[in-house]
């Protein structure tokens, strides 16, 4: 009889597990949630904010304002993903752009991909818009600096335990003479322990 009871218990447990349904809960976008330990929105926002704060607190910006008499114009270039994960660097770049624009300390121009779309629109206006509303070509604001960078990881693994070390490096380079005026680095270390058992 004992065997029969365990048998039923096993069957019931299996059926119960297979009956689990999907549930959805809305969350605050600022809430920190780590599920797998992989790079997530919290990392992206945190790194972007801290690194942009750091870049804007350095001497290059005041030197530029002093010598040129205007705020520097910055563009965010490519952030290369050299990590172990398929990270959508576009969201990270967007976070950095937002931090830069909202700081009010620099002016910001559209990225290469956006510019092309805008140029296409201008070319279209040239043909179709009225004289009064048409925008001329050749009036673009040229950037003074480009921000580029890369995300690297080192993963150390032992069975079900992992240490993931992320290192984000960003550089601000002068478009006029290729000088690097700021180099920033942000590190994140995560210890991930996966369970050896599941239901």
């Amino acid at each position: 009889m004992k065997i029969q009871s365990s048998f039923w218990l096993a069957v019931a447990a299996t059926l119960m597990l297979s009956a689990c349904s999907t549930s959805v809960e809305r969350l605050d976008a600022q809430e920190q949630i780590d599920l797998s330990g992989a790079w997530n929105d919290t990392d992206s926002q945190l790194v972007a904010r801290e690194m942009i704060e750091d870049s804007l607190s350095r001497a290059w910006i005041s030197k530029f304002v002093q010598s040129e008499g205007k705020d520097p114009v910055v563009i965010v270039g490519r952030v290369k993903n050299l990590s172990h994960e398929h990270i959508n660097t576009n969201t990270f770049v967007a976070n950095m752009e937002r931090e830069l624009i909202n700081s009010g300390e620099v002016q910001f121009v559209a990225s290469a991909a956006n510019r092309q779309e805008i140029r296409d629109e201008r070319a279209d206006q040239d043909l179709n818009a009225t004289e009064a509303t048409r925008k001329e070509a050749g009036q673009e604001y040229g950037a003074d600096y480009i921000m580029q960078g890369q995300i690297n990881t080192i993963v150390d693994v032992d069975g079900t335990t992992q240490v993931r070390y992320y290192q984000v490096n960003l550089e601000l380079i002068s478009l006029k003479d290729n000088r690097k005026v700021w180099v920033g680095e942000k590190k994140i270390k995560k210890l991930i322990k996966n369970s050896k058992l599941r239901l």
Binding site: V11, Q162, L197, R198, L199
Partner: protein, 411 residues
Amino acid sequence: MHKLLIVLLLSLTGCVSQQNNNKLANELRQTTPEHILSILQENKPDTSDIAQYYLNLGYLQLLSGEFTSAIESLSTANNEMQLLSAISITENIAAGTVNETLRRYSGYPLDRVMVHNMLALSYLFNQDIEGARIEMLQADVEMKKLSEGEELSGQLASTHLLSAIIYELLDERSDAFISYQLTENILNKRQIVLPEGLKLGLLRSSKKMGNDQEYDRYSKLYPSLAKQTRLDKQVFILYFNGVVSNKEQRSIVVPSFNGRQLIRVSVPGYPNTRPLQQQASISDGLHRVNSALIENIDTLAKEDLDKEYPSILLLTTTRAVAKYKLVQEAQKKDPLLGALLNLATLLSEVADLRSWNMLPATVQFGYLETNFDNIAISTNNQNESPVNLNQGKQHVILATGLSDKIFNYQQ
């Protein structure tokens, strides 16, 4: 008791789905990947077979040139395998009482690493070399997870080789050299003759990274290759030969000690057949190179099953005892019900025949340097297929004996 009878019989649906899958894998030897893919896409996988289904689906999509879909399917399979890497208590209870097909397919070490190879190739032919590089890094982490001392379980030479090629394409010289060396180590441990393309890779990458000591060592080991003049274009060829063996069920039925019931025991096994070894041949009109073995997937699949055998035997024995006791109890209450339940326990006793059973039997590698803009590749004794090289200096070509499709990544 009647309900139990129904549950036991319901478990047979999993067995039918396994048989269909094995049938499709066998048909792949005679027909095109596109045809099998269209049949597979019409089937919906059982909850317990999701990883196996998407592994096969993704591989066929890769061979059919549907790279974006292949990435999606293989990533689904990979995520499922990662989720199921922990041991399930309930599934093991079910496997120890009904049969092992009630356990969700979580992939063998071979699957867990090979999925990254297939993903990397899908990214590469989808013109995303950085995506391919990420997959190789993930494969490296997976291999470290699976490594146990000197054992070769989950350690794939083809993964290190593919990593080396990708690093070489990205001009990451030291990483390329290390990966070529790791490939060499595994092939030596497996007593597989080093392909000429690998020897050239070791020479080339040690020289490029300026490691004179290693370059001198390899030059002494392979003097004729060290003297070869470097030509304009590099062609790396991966050739997928055949289809890996399918598992088969081995069962015995014996009467119980008192002769009042029949006991059936089923375990999975691989047939003792050796896959037909065919090579790909690459020629630029002046030089001809044949692909050489880099990974015997058939052997790896058998090793993975061998490693699992102690737990399979334990569960099979537990199951036999549990089913015997159950029938015995039923017989005491109602002999007819006991007989029916005995029949149900016999029918439900099936071996777990699931595996990534559409993989190639072997992975082969060839390397050619040429100054010509056109080369020809012949596979499986079929006609030569022309490949144009004028769009780049470095080429990764994937050919398979299952179809005449040839994929070429060039940069």
